[in-house]
C-alpha cells in the first residue's frame, strides 16, 4: 500500500522538525497509539490500537525508527507493527519544505500489511491509512500551534 500526500503546518520548518523528534508529539502523529517511548536515540517502541473495517480494535506492538536524518529537511521513518490481527511493515519518506513562513510536509509511505487486518480490511486499508495520516498530522499541527 502506497500513500503519497502533503500537509501544510501552521508553524515553520525548524519548529516542526524539532517537534517530530519528541515522542510525545510522535504519539499524536500516529492515531490510536496508546504509548510510545524512546528506546534509544531515534528508536521508539509502544502500543497502538487500530480499527480497519470489521477489525475494530486491533492491538499492535509498534516500533518506530527515524533514520537518514537531514535536518531540517528530510528523514525516513521505519515502522513496524505486530499483533494478533496481523502486521504492518514499512517506511515513510518525509520531506519538509518552506512555504513562506509555514512548513509544507511531503511524504510517501510504502507499507506492507499482512494477516487478518489485510484479509478483512483490505478494501478500507487505503482510505483508513490516508485518514489516519491526515488526522495524525492535524493533531500534531494543533499541538505545535503556530510556533515561533
Amino acid at each position: 500500500m502506497v500513500i503519497e500526500a502533503e500537509y501544510l503546518f501552521a508553524a515553520g520548518r525548524e519548529t516542526v522538525w524539532e517537534a517530530l523528534q519528541d515522542p510525545d508529539v510522535l504519539v499524536q502523529a500516529l492515531p490510536g497509539t496508546e504509548r510510545l517511548e524512546r528506546v534509544d536515540g531515534h528508536v521508539y517502541a509502544g502500543e497502538m490500537v487500530v480499527g480497519v473495517g470489521p477489525v475494530t480494535a486491533a492491538r499492535f506492538d509498534i516500533s518506530v525508527e527515524l533514520t537518514d536524518l537531514v535536518p531540517p529537511e528530510a528523514f525516513t521513518m521505519l515502522v513496524g507493527g505486530d499483533g494478533r490481527a496481523g502486521f504492518v511493515d514499512g517506511r515513510a519518506d518525509v520531506r519538509l519544505e518552506e512555504k513562506g513562513a509555514r512548513c509544507l510536509m511531503r511524504y510517501r509511505a510504502d507499507l506492507r500489511v499482512g494477516g487478518p487486518v489485510a484479509a478483512l480490511g483490505h478494501r478500507l486499508l487505503d482510505s483508513v491509512g490516508r485518514s489516519m495520516s491526515r488526522r495524525g498530522l492535524e493533531a500534531v499541527d494543533r499541538m505545535i500551534g503556530p510556533g515561533s
Binding site: 499483533g83 494478533r84 502486521f87 499482512g114 494477516g115 487478518p116 489485510a118 484479509a119 478483512l120 483490505h122
Partner: protein, 804 residues
C-alpha cells in the same frame, strides 16, 4: 409402506437399457430422499454436534507471512494462560513430525519431471504461505484457545514472497523449497501426431493467452475434527469432515502405530465437500488424533470461515498460451497448448488438476494432432488441490474460446464449427492417445454429441433468438447475448469401491458402503440400487456411508465417481443377496428358484399366493440358533461386492445461456439457462438435476463473482464473504435440464458420473455470451473470472474506442 415412486423416463439414445435387464427397476425414479427427515429436523449428526465428556478445544497459531524463515516459536506465555491445557510447535512433536504423504503419484507419462514437496503438520524452519499452521493450542474452550494463540510469539524473518504464478520461475525468484533449484514442481508433455506439420496446412491459426484465477470451494460447513482416544480399549475414534474416511483411517493408524482395526474414522453428515475435503492428512487431521492420545482427553477443532480461506485447499489458477489450427471449413487440424499451473506452497495431490486440463481440452471433438505441455509451480499461496471440476474447466475454457475465435475469423457460426468437429457415435470407443488422471489411456467410452446440441439449440430457440429476438432487442439498445458451449467429463475412475447388503430379520435391508456423503443423496440413490433387485422401495433400505468400522475397504467420494463405482458395488451386492434370497426361499417353499418372484418385501411361488415368505422370515431362517447347517452355508442373507472400472467413462453435455448486460452498471441478468446432459443411465433424476444445479451455481460463481485476490506479498485480500462474492439466489437462474443417455459399456448399470459436470463449461459460456451481448465491438474475453467491476471497465474501454 412408502409413496409410489415417480418414474421419469430418460430418452434413450443408442444402446439398449441394460440397467433394467440387470434387475434394477428403481433406476430412473425419484423417490423422496431417505436422509431429508433427519437433515430437516436438525437431528442429523455433523462433526460439530459431537460432544464428549472432558472434550477440549483446539486453535492454531498461523503464519501472517507468505514466506519466511521461522527462527523461533515461544509458547511460554500461551501455556501460562488460564484454561490452556497444552501448546505445541513443530519441535514438540518430536518424531511424529513428518511431511504428509504424496496422495497421487504421477501417472506413467514418458516426458515428465516431478519434484514433490508435501505439507507439514506444523511449520518448521520455514513458513511458506499465509495461514500455514505454526503452533497448536489446546484449551478448555475455543475462546481461551484463541486468546492463547494471540500470546504465541513467532519470530519470522520475512523472505521475498513468490505470489504471482508467472513470477515463480523467473530468474532470481526466491526459492520456496530449498531442496530444489527452482520453484518448478512438475513439467509434463503429452502429445499425439505432429502439430506443426498439421498447422502448416491451416486456413486459420488462432492463438491467445488465457488466464483463469483462484477460487475457493466455500462449502456451507467448514472442516472439523473431533478425536477421542480410549486408553483402556486401545481405540481411537475420529470424526472428520473428510471425503475419504478409509484412507484417513489407514494413514492415521500407520502414523500413530495403531492397528487399523483399532482406529475408527467417521465421516458423518457433511455440509458439502467439493474436493478440498478429499485432500488428506491436512495438518489438523494429523495433529488432533495425536493430541487426543497425548492428553488422554477428546479434542475438537472446528475451522472458522476466515481460517478456511487459508487452511482449506483451493484451486483454479492457470495461464495458458494456446493455439488452434483449422481448415477452411473450421475442422480442427490440431491444437497446441503450453500452460502454467499454480500448486501453491506444497503439492500433496500430484498432477491431477493439470492433467485433467490437458485431457479435457480435447472435448467432444476430433483432434488429430495435439501438443500439450504444462509446468506446475510452487508459489507462496495456500495449497492447491482439486475443487469441483478439478482442472477440467480450464481445458474447456481454452478449447471453447479457441473455437469461438476461429469461428469468428472464418465467419462460421459458433455452434456450426462445433458440430463439424464432433466425434460421431461410430468413433467410440475413441482413443485420444494420452494418459488421464487415473493412469489409464484417455479413451472415451460412449457418446453422441450432435443430438445433444440439437436439443439444446431447440430448447433455447437458438435460431429464433438469432433471427428475430436478438435483433429486435439490439435495435432497442439492449445488450443481449447467447452462448452455447460443449464439454466432456471423464468420470467414474477407479480403483474400486465396495458395498455390503444384508436383509435384516425385520424385513428391512441394510446397505453399507465405504464412501462418504457430503450431500449427494447417497442415502437414497444407493438405497434405490439395493432395493430394486430385492423387490423393495428405497425407503426400506437403511444406508450407512463413511464409517470405517462398518465398511473398511475403499477410497472415497471424489472425481464424480460415487454413483458409478460405489453404486455398481451396491447393485452387485444386492444382486448377490437376491441369489441367496431365492436359494433360501426355494429351500423354504420347496420350489425352484425360477418359479419364484420377489416383490413387496416377500418371495412367493409364482401364481400361488399362499406359498409365500417375507424377507424377514427368510432372514431369520438363515441365522438359526440351534440345529445343524449344511457344510458351506453362510449365515444370513448378506453379501459384499466390489466394483472397479477398467477406466473412466465419459459424460458430456451442452450448456446454453441467454444473458443481458445492463449498459450502465455492467450487472448481468441471465434470462435463460439450458443444460442438456448425458451421464448415461440415471439412478435418480431429481438428484442428478440437483448436482447439475449446484454445479452451475458454482460455475456462475467462478465466472462472474468468485475470485481469491492475493497481493504481491502473497496476502489474501478477501478472506471473508464480504469480499469473496458467492452467487446469491438472485444470481442463479432457473436451470432447464434435459437428460440424454449413452450408457457406459464400462459398468453393468451403464451409468456415468455427474457430480462436477455443472461447473465445468460455465466460464467458457459466460465469455461467449458476454462477447455476443456486447456486439461487434466487444473486447475479447480471455480471462476468468470476470466481475461487474471488470466488465464495466471493459465496456468503458469499448465506449472510448468507438468514440474515436
Amino acid at each position: 409402506m412408502s409413496r409410489p415412486a415417480k418414474r421419469v423416463d430418460a430418452p434413450r439414445v443408442g444402446v439398449r437399457d441394460r440397467s433394467v435387464e440387470a434387475g434394477s427397476p428403481l433406476l430412473g425414479t425419484a423417490p423422496r430422499r431417505n436422509e431429508d427427515e433427519r437433515l430437516l429436523t436438525g437431528t442429523a449428526l455433523f462433526v460439530d454436534d459431537v460432544h464428549l465428556d472432558g472434550m477440549l478445544h483446539v486453535a492454531f497459531a498461523r503464519s501472517d507471512y507468505a514466506h519466511g524463515r521461522l527462527r523461533g516459536v515461544d509458547l511460554s506465555a500461551a501455556r501460562a494462560q488460564a484454561g490452556v491445557v497444552a501448546a505445541w510447535s513443530a519441535e514438540d512433536l518430536g518424531a511424529y513430525w513428518a511431511p504428509g504423504p504424496l496422495l497421487v503419484p504421477p501417472p506413467p507419462i514418458e516426458r515428465l519431471t516431478f519434484r514433490s514437496a508435501t505439507q507439514v503438520p506444523l511449520a518448521r524452519d520455514k513458513v511458506r504461505h499465509v495461514g500455514e499452521p505454526i503452533a497448536m493450542i489446546v484449551a478448555r474452550s475455543r475462546y481461551e484457545a484463541e486468546d492463547a494463540v494471540a500470546l504465541v510469539e513467532i519470530d519470522v524473518e520475512p523472505l521475498p514472497p513468490v505470489a504471482r504464478t508467472e513470477d515463480s520461475l523467473a530468474e532470481g525468484a526466491a526459492r520456496i523449497h530449498d531442496q530444489f533449484d527452482s520453484n518448478l514442481a512438475a513439467h509434463v508433455v503429452q502429445s499425439k501426431g505432429e502439430y506443426e506439420n498439421a498447422a502448416a496446412r491451416a486456413a486459420a491459426r488462432v492463438g491467445r493467452r488465457f488466464r483463469i484465477d483462484r477460487g475457493a470451494s466455500a462449502p456451507i460447513e467448514n472442516r472439523g475434527i473431533v478425536a477421542s482416544w480410549d486408553e483402556r480399549a486401545g481405540e481411537l475414534i475420529v470424526w472428520d469432515t473428510t471425503q475419504a474416511p478409509i484412507p484417513i483411517r489407514n494413514g492415521l493408524a500407520g502414523m500413530l502405530g495403531l492397528p487399523e482395526t483399532h482406529v475408527r474414522v467417521i465421516a458423518p453428515f457433511i455440509g458439502g465437500g467439493f474436493g478440498p475435503k478429499i485432500m488428506m492428512f491436512y495438518p489438523e487431521e494429523v495433529l488432533l488424533p495425536w493430541a487426543a492420545m497425548q492428553l488422554g482427553r477428546p479434542v475438537k477443532w472446528i475451522e472458522d470461515r476466515q481460517e478456511s480461506f487459508y487452511a482449506t485447499t483451493q484451486e483454479r489458477e492457470q495461464i495458458h498460451d494456446a493455439e488452434i489450427a483449422v481448415d477452411a471449413d473450421g475442422r480442427i487440424l490440431g491444437v497446441r497448448d503450453s500452460f502454467v499451473c499454480d500448486s501453491g506452497a506444497y503439492n500433496p495431490y500430484g498432477l491431477t488438476v493439470p492433467i485433467n486440463s490437458q485431457c479435457t481440452l480435447l472435448g467432444q471433438y476430433r483432434v488429430p494432432n495435439y501438443e500439450s505441455e504444462f509446468r506446475l509451480v510452487y508459489t507462496n499461496k495456500p495449497i492447491v488441490t482439486p475443487v469441483r471440476g478439478a482442472g477440467r474447466q480450464h481445458g474447456v475454457f481454452v478449447m471453447e474460446r479457441l473455437l469461438d475465435l476461429a469461428a469468428d475469423e472464418l465467419g462460421i457460426d459458433p455452434t456450426e464449427i462445433r458440430r463439424r468437429n464432433f466425434l460421431t457415435p461410430d468413433e467410440f470407443p475413441h482413443d485420444h492417445e494420452i494418459l488421464y488422471q487415473d493412469f489409464a489411456p484417455l479413451v472415451y467410452d460412449s457418446g453422441d454429441y450432435a443430438p445433444a446440441l440439437d436439443r439444446a439449440l431447440e430448447m433455447i430457440d437458438y435460431d429464433g433468438f438469432r433471427a428475430s429476438e436478438q435483433p429486435a432487442l439490439r435495435a432497442a439498445g439492449r445488450r443481449v447475448g447467447i452462448g452455447v458451449v460443449c464439454y466432456v467429463e471423464g468420470t467414474g475412475i477407479g480403483p474400486y469401491e465396495g458395498a455390503r447388503v444384508s436383509v435384516r430379520t425385520d424385513g428391512r435391508v441394510s446397505l453399507v458402503t465405504g464412501v462418504g456423503t457430503q450431500g449427494q443423496g447417497h442415502f437414497t440413490s444407493f438405497a434405490q440400487l439395493a432395493a430394486g433387485p430385492l423387490g423393495l422401495d428405497a425407503a426400506d433400505v437403511d444406508v450407512v456411508t463413511g464409517d470405517t468400522a462398518k465398511f473398511s475397504w475403499g477410497t472415497g467420494t471424489f472425481a464424480s465417481r460415487g454413483a458409478v463405482v460405489a453404486g455398481n458395488a451396491c447393485h452387485a451386492a444386492a444382486l448377490a443377496v437376491r441369489e441367496k434370497v431365492l436359494a433360501a426361499a426355494a429351500d423354504a417353499l420347496g420350489a425352484a428358484p425360477a418359479d419364484l418372484e420377489v416383490g413387496g418385501g416377500a418371495v412367493q411361488v409364482r401364481g400361488v399366493p399362499d406359498r409365500r415368505m417375507t424377507l424377514g422370515e427368510l432372514a431369520r431362517r438363515a441365522n438359526p440358533l440351534r440345529g445343524a447347517v449344511r457344510p458351506g452355508t453362510e449365515p444370513g442373507l448378506e453379501a459384499t461386492a466390489y466394483f472397479g472400472p477398467e477406466r473412466a467413462c465419459t459424460a458430456s453435455g451442452i450448456h446454453a445461456m441467454i444473458l443481458e448486460i445492463d449498459p450502465e452498471t455492467a450487472m448481468i441478468d441471465i434470462r435463460r439457462y439450458v443444460v442438456v446432459h448425458d451421464c448415461g443411465a440415471v439412478i435418480n433424476p431429481m438428484l442428478v438435476d440437483g448436482q447439475i444445479h449446484g454445479g452451475v451455481a458454482h460455475g456462475i460463481g467462478n465466472s462472474f463473482y468468485e475470485e481469491l485476490v492475493f497481493d504481491e506479498g502473497g496476502q489474501l485480500m478477501n478472506a471473508s464473504f464480504m469480499d469473496y462474492l458467492l452467487p446469491t439466489a438472485t444470481d442463479v437462474p432457473a436451470i432447464e435440464t434435459e437428460h440424454l443417455c449413452t450408457p457406459s459399456p464400462l459398468n453393468p448399470l451403464g451409468i456415468k458420473g455427474v457430480g462436477e459436470a455443472g461447473a465445468i463449461p460455465v466460464a467458457a459460456l459466460f465469455a461467449q455470451a458476454i462477447e455476443d451481448a456486447l456486439g461487434d465491438e466487444a473486447p475479447e474475453i480471455l480471462e476468468m473470472p470476470l466481475s461487474p467491476d471488470r466488465l464495466f471497465a471493459l465496456m468503458q474501454g469499448m465506449a472510448r474506442r468507438t468514440e474515436r
